[in-house]
């Protein structure tokens, strides 16, 4: 199982804060997961933004980071705290 979190502008656009998805061997990287989500339709194209950021198990990661069953993944726009 994968837990996926969306934050800020993405959370609002997708109308989704968190979801769970079964892991499969087709999801080898965070980018594989993103491409799967993009097939869901229009609203999801927001994840195609070139500056999309992601985290794996609460650490910032790159899109080519490996994915494993049980991971907590997050997608979010560039951060703006401070």
């Amino acid at each position: 199982m994968l837990t996926i979190n969306y934050f800020a502008r993405y959370r609002e656009a997708l109308g989704c804060e968190q979801e769970q998805l079964p892991w499969s061997s087709a999801l080898q990287t965070v980018n594989d997961l993103r491409e799967h989500l993009l097939t869901r339709g229009d609203a999801w194209q927001i994840l195609a933004e070139p500056k999309v950021m992601c985290a794996r198990n609460q650490d910032m990661c790159q899109l080519d980071s490996p994915l494993a069953d049980g991971d907590e993944i997050a997608f979010f726009p560039p951060v703006t705290g401070g």
Partner: protein
């Protein structure tokens, strides 16, 4: 060392003073305070909602502080960042560093803020006279970060 994420307001001056406490080896303290402005990017701002990623936030801030400690000889380091609803004039963030020496304190505090701005999972949604808007990340913050990349 303390890393705190909270909704309540705080007293920046008290945090600054605590960085010295009674540590007689401290020669220099540098503190940064970020405040909510009443105007940003051409529009009046009535307040802002600060969203974060609970769990990851403290972890990300700890990594930034650890990295600063590897680079400079620091004594105390404190980071406090607020989340939730904030109004103009309220403090958003405090970063304070103490060291035996002045330049280490300046550089470490500046470094922590640059990293926080680009690597810590916080997002601002401003309430403006024309409605709510998510603040966009600024190119200049990425450039600020690049100074520190080795």
């Amino acid at each position: 060392m303390a890393i705190i994420v909270q909704t309540d307001s705080f007293d920046p001056g008290q945090l600054l003073n605590q960085l010295h406490a009674d540590q007689l080896g401290v020669g220099a303290v540098v503190g940064f305070v970020g405040y909510v402005r009443d105007f940003n990017d051409g529009q009046d701002v009535a307040g802002m909602l600060l969203e974060h990623y609970p769990g990851m936030t403290e972890k990300a801030l700890s990594k930034i502080v650890d990295e600063a400690r590897e680079r400079w000889p620091l004594l105390a380091v404190d980071v406090l960042h607020r989340v939730g609803w904030l109004e103009p004039g309220e403090p958003i963030v405090f970063v304070g560093v103490s060291s035996a020496h002045r330049q280490a304190a300046f550089d470490a505090c500046n470094f922590i803020m640059d990293y926080l701005k680009t690597r810590a999972p916080f997002w601002k949604r401003e309430e403006t006279s024309e409605g709510p808007r998510w603040v966009d990340a600024r190119e200049i913050d990425d450039q600020a970060l690049e100074r520190w990349l080795r």
